[in-house]
Amino acid sequence: MADRVPAIGVLALQGDVEEHLVALRRAGAQAHAVKQRDQLDELDGLVIPGGESTTVMKLLQRFGLASPIVERVRAGLPLWGTCMGMIVASHDVADLKQPTLDVLDVTVRRNAFGRQNESAEVDLNVPAIGAKPFAAVFIRAPWVERVGPGVELLASREGHGVMVRQGNVLATSFHPELGGDTRIHEYFLSIVREALRIGKRSTAA
């Protein structure tokens, strides 16, 4: 039986939501913006886009979305955070008392590559998606300072982790939704399809 088209939600409290929706659709998913708690139920995967992490974390708590997202992700829902999304998903933020969802066992450092003048486009090696370098856009980007056990490091820049995966949770400190290369969106969809197959098997058993 052919796999059904996965339904991916993009958290739409703030940030570059539209860019992810477009890239996800090009990569072969159904995609829609998610702002309300009840919209979480129908999803096969969730993307937390680029944006301001302090702002979005406050809005997640204010509008009662933080706990339901954590519950779903801990139960296996695939999650991908880009830049702000990586910070929001992390265990903690170096040198800041910033609340996070704590669904990815890493410590991140915010604005680690610098402020806006240091924002850059960088050719990045990401072996998990093939040999051709990925044109990665870093904007006031964080890096991964510590990885916990079970966290795979998928790409580094200047010796600092910028793409990691822990089971169903993927995070990039750059923005694959800017620019036309959809390979990382396809990689996330492969995680989603894997989760759907496992889910189907456990239901059948």
């Binding site: 940030g15 702002k35 680029g50 301001e52 806006q116 924002s119 486009e121 050719d123 006031r140």
Partner: protein, 296 residues
């Protein structure tokens, strides 16, 4: 290979701010209040527009000490204003590492004919516009973000509505115009043909469009978002209200959920009996006191 200051990274930061509120602040404490309320960025300046109006005289780039103290206080991006055409002020702000430069009609223009050539800068620029032609001229000069001008410091939303509608209407007109009309339209708009053709094809500006100038309540913010703004600048509306924390949070909530009247109502209700900034009737302002007509 590493490239800084490209269009992608300059426009990209504005894309990350979409759906958010950028607040004018004049002290590090106000910047912290803004960040706590959920602002996505702050605009550091010595006086908010309403006070610039009252003070009169020449309004210039703010003191670097003040801007730096605000940059040190918060983790969100910090913007600051330069006078129209004052490229030396812009070089100074770029050198201290500001995240965005607003070439702003709220300050007294330094050049009454020309804007800054913004493309060579690594730091991105946001500029005001009253209509599509003005927006595209600024983008052609290198602006990486556009805001409707509105009438800053007036507490009156009418000019922001006029400018946002003018931009939206012109984009809708272009998107159905036959190709052979584009050159004549470019001439009417006073904007480069390439940009006009791009807008006609995409049905939107090539950069993020925020609203500014006159937002003073949560409902004002929801109105502008529904008229097509991708985010909101609030200048005097927060720190000229009589309860800055409540207004800041309520305007953020209403911007986030602008399409949900129940949540906007909740944001209005959260203000209790606090009152918004006093407003001005823009029609009664003499031409010499209008800010939106500075720069074209």
């Amino acid at each position: 290979m590493e490239h800084t200051g490209t269009d992608t990274v300059k426009r990209g930061l504005a894309q990350m701010l979409k759906g958010g509120v950028i607040m004018d602040v004049v002290t590090p404490d106000q910047a912290l209040i803004a960040q706590e309320a959920g602002a996505v960025a702050v605009m550091a300046l010595e006086r908010i527009p309403a006070d610039i109006r009252t003070a009169g005289g020449v309004a210039r780039m703010s003191s670097l000490e003040l801007i730096q103290s605000i940059m040190d206080a918060v983790t969100i991006p910090v913007m600051a204003k330069v006078r129209i055409g004052h490229f030396a002020e812009a070089h100074v702000l770029q050198s201290i590492g500001i995240d965005y430069i607003d070439e702003s009609e709220v300050l007294t223009p330094a050049d009454d004919k020309y804007h800054i050539e913004k493309r060579p800068f690594t730091t991105p620029f946001v500029c005001g516009a009253r209509d599509l032609g003005e927006a595209l001229r600024r983008i052609a000069e290198g602006a990486a973000m556009i805001r409707s001008k509105g009438e800053a410091g007036s507490g009156n939303i009418v000019e922001a509505v006029r400018h946002m509608r003018a931009i939206g209407d012109a984009i809708r007109e272009l998107s159905v115009a036959p190709k052979e009309e584009l050159m004549a339209r470019a001439r009417e708009l006073g904007a480069p043909l390439e940009l006009v053709a791009q807008v006609a094809r995409d049905g939107c500006l090539p950069v993020v469009l925020f609203c500014a100038g006159g937002v003073s309540t949560p409902a004002d913010a929801a109105l502008m978002m529904q008229l097509g703004a991708q985010g909101i600048f609030v200048g005097s509306g927060i720190f000229k209200s009589n309860n800055e924390r409540l207004f800041a949070k309520a305007i953020v909530d209403a911007t986030t959920h602008y399409e949900d009247p129940k949540i906007v109502a909740e944001a209005c209700r959260s203000l209790g009996t606090s009152s918004a900034m006093p407003g001005l009737d823009v029609r009664k302002l003499p031409d010499s006191e209008l800010l939106a007509t500075r720069g074209n």
